[in-house]
């Protein structure tokens, strides 16, 4: 077991280092010119001005030197300064991350709370109407483009029926609760401000449903397949033979075993939600990482793109590491 943990840690660290190289190369080797994107045509035709600007951002140094500078900065937690916002990228990310974490977490819980029971029911009542509904829900969920689903929800429940609040995290005239964690649901409760809490929760409903839709399909399908696998195992037959009630068999025996692949998928799905938020946040004007990513990409703000891709890739690696380790806990055979 300790050997397994060490080898996973080393592999993850190595991948992280390689990831920094890949990100650096993408940001630097591609033909897009940040000078033109940032300064505009007029300023970019002034040679002296351009040279000064390049020197200021270190764009005149050789590639490998810039990579070393980039790495050295990383070790000090320095992701560079965003060309567009003129602020440290880490500060930008810190400001936008809570909104995305809040949205992704609520969406993830929603898809788990709906997806696991739906998948279980579909497996137990195989070929019944529940199974067909589960199949339809997961197929449509996986097949709908997130950005379109977001628009439909907004047009229907905000524009048409007017029963849901509009885009954003709070009403435009409302003050945000005093920042502690940056998660409005938590902050408003800490401040004892129930009105803010209700406002924030209401604004979360539509975007989190949209975000949950695709993941819901995956989780339902995996749960169903994994339950079916286990329902046909010998231990279930033994449990039935010794007269255990069906509910006990499902909840006490089959479910814990069936949950193992869902842990793997769940972790990956959460990581995907963090990035799938790009579409949802754009439609719902949600001030999170997704929208920040898109705006940086649009402006060719390389330090910001590098920073955010790196942070997301590291999060991805970290989640994978946690999955691998928890897998070893759930199924000790893995670590051998």
């Amino acid at each position: 077991m300790p050997r397994y943990i060490v080898s996973r840690l080393v592999a993850t660290a190595l991948m992280a280092l390689l990831a920094t190289l890949v990100i650096f190369l993408i940001a630097n080797m591609v033909p897009g010119d940040p000078v033109l994107a940032q300064l505009g045509d007029v300023a970019a035709s002034n040679k002296a001005f351009v040279a000064e600007w390049r020197a200021k951002w270190g764009l005149d140094l050789p590639l490998w030197e810039r990579y070393l500078i980039f790495l050295k900065g990383l070790l000090h937690g320095d992701l560079g300064v965003s060309i567009a916002s003129q602020r440290p990228v880490l500060e930008d990310i810190g400001q936008y991350a809570p909104a995305t974490i809040e949205l992704a977490t609520v969406g993830f819980l929603l898809s788990l709370l709906l997806g696991v029971p739906l998948g279980m029911l579909a497996a137990i009542k195989r070929d019944s109407w529940v199974d067909h509904v589960a199949r339809a829900v997961s197929l449509v969920g996986v097949s709908s483009p997130t950005f379109w689903l977001a628009f439909i929800m907004l047009a229907l429940f905000y524009g048409g029926l007017q029963i849901a609040p509009g885009p954003g995290r709070l009403d435009p005239i409302a003050f945000s609760p005093p920042t502690v964690t940056g998660l409005f649901l938590v902050d408003s409760l800490l401040a004892g401000d129930l009105e803010s809490f209700r406002d924030a929760a209401a604004h979360l409903v539509l975007p989190s449903i949209v975000l949950a839709a695709a993941t819901l399909g995956l989780i339902t399908r995996t749960t169903r397949a994994s339950m079916l696998d286990n329902l046909h195992q010998d231990y279930v037959r033994v449990a039935r033979a010794k007269g255990l009630r069906e509910g006990r068999i499902v909840n006490g025996h089959v479910l814990p075993n069936a949950l193992i692949p869902i842990v793997t998928l769940g972790g990956l799905a959460y990581a995907n939600l963090l990035t799938g938020a790009v579409m949802t946040e754009t439609v719902f004007s949600w001030p999170g990482l997704g929208r920040y990513t898109f705006r940086s990409a649009e402006a060719l703000d390389f330090p910001a793109i590098m920073g955010i891709t790196l942070v997301v890739a590291l999060t991805y690696l970290l989640i994978n590491l946690v999955i691998d380790l928890s897998y070893a806990l759930l199924d000790p055979r893995v670590a051998r």
């Binding site: 990831a19 524009g159 649009e298 060719l300 793109i305």
Partner: protein, 293 residues
């Protein structure tokens, strides 16, 4: 597909399947519906200039944002262009990019992964670690970064998608070829003195191709959604090219004029559903283990 098939497929889907034959027809029915949807879209892509009296980019602001009517079935957009016409023309680019990305990415990934499993040793290690490296990035973010860096345009977006697309095929092909490698027929081919490339291309890959075909079918929908998503974010096509993702983007703030964004999204949903239906059916057909489920 005949009306009878369709009716029986619907019936079979409503009632619990009892006999083996019924279940088979239900599976077949879903795949057939998927194939029919795709066929319709392919025909539309080929024939769209004959299907509509309008041109996809004739601007007429005097009739902008008209709701669906007898003259403009799906209404008009902000520049007075016919939404239905643009939607029909949009099928071309979506199907094209989906096919190009999945076929090129799939072929490259399969060859690289297959070759890695076949040669073993350092080469395999190097290729598979490279695959892991690309897989450790979230695909949309990586494609977004690359597409933004290369510049807007269909070709650049396809390149960006190809970079993130091949690894999953490489991984699958790698594991499939590993299994095939230890089979006796490969040993026999080596003994007979066939060249490694020939063994890989003519013997191993054809034997391992089933799961790859399933992945290709399911992945076509995935690629179409991803391209539409990048277009929605402004990176896919150069306006005024009619494309579903960018059409949704153009209408995304028109909550009152919902038809501008709603219908192109339906188009994406239908194509992707079509490929998922077909892929599910193909999987049931090729993989007897999944059929039991």
């Amino acid at each position: 597909m005949t009306a009878f098939d369709q009716a029986s497929a619907t019936l079979a889907a409503l009632a619990p399947a009892r006999s083996k034959g019924q279940r088979w027809r239900r599976r077949y029915g879903i795949a057939a519906i998927g194939a029919a949807i795709i066929l319709v879209w392919v025909l539309i892509a080929i024939l769209c200039s004959y299907l509509t009296p309008y041109s996809p980019d004739t601007v007429d602001v005097s009739i902008r944002l008209r709701p669906p009517s007898a003259t403009h079935w799906l209404g008009t957009d902000e520049l007075g262009r016919d939404v239905l016409t643009r939607l029909l023309y949009g099928s071309r680019i979506s199907l094209f990019t989906g096919l190009v990305v999945v076929l090129l990415g799939g072929a490259f990934g399969t060859l690289v992964g297959g070759a890695a499993a076949f040669m073993r040793g350092r080469g395999e290690e190097l290729i598979m670690r490279l695959t892991d490296l690309v897989l450790c990035f979230p695909p949309i973010i990586l494609a977004l970064a690359i597409a933004a860096a290369l510049g807007i345009g269909t070709r650049n977006t396809i390149i960006a998608m190809l970079v993130v697309w091949w690894p999953k095929f490489a991984r699958l092909a790698h594991s499939l070829v590993l299994v095939q490698r230890s089979q006796e027929y490969v040993e026999a081919a080596v003994v007979v003195g066939l060249k490694p490339a020939r063994i890989l291309l003519r013997h191993i890959i054809p034997n391992a191709v089933g799961p790859l075909i399933v992945l290709v079918t399911l992945d076509l929908g995935n690629a179409i959604i991803t391209f539409a998503g990048l277009s929605f974010l402004g990176l896919g096509v150069v306006p005024p090219t009619p494309e579903w993702g960018s059409m949704v983007a153009e209408g995304r703030e028109l909550v009152e004029q919902w038809w501008v964004a709603a219908f192109p999204g339906f188009a994406i949903l239908s194509v992707v559903l079509g490929f998922n239906f077909l892929g599910d059916g193909v999987r049931d057909w090729l993989d007897p283990k999944a059929r039991q489920r």
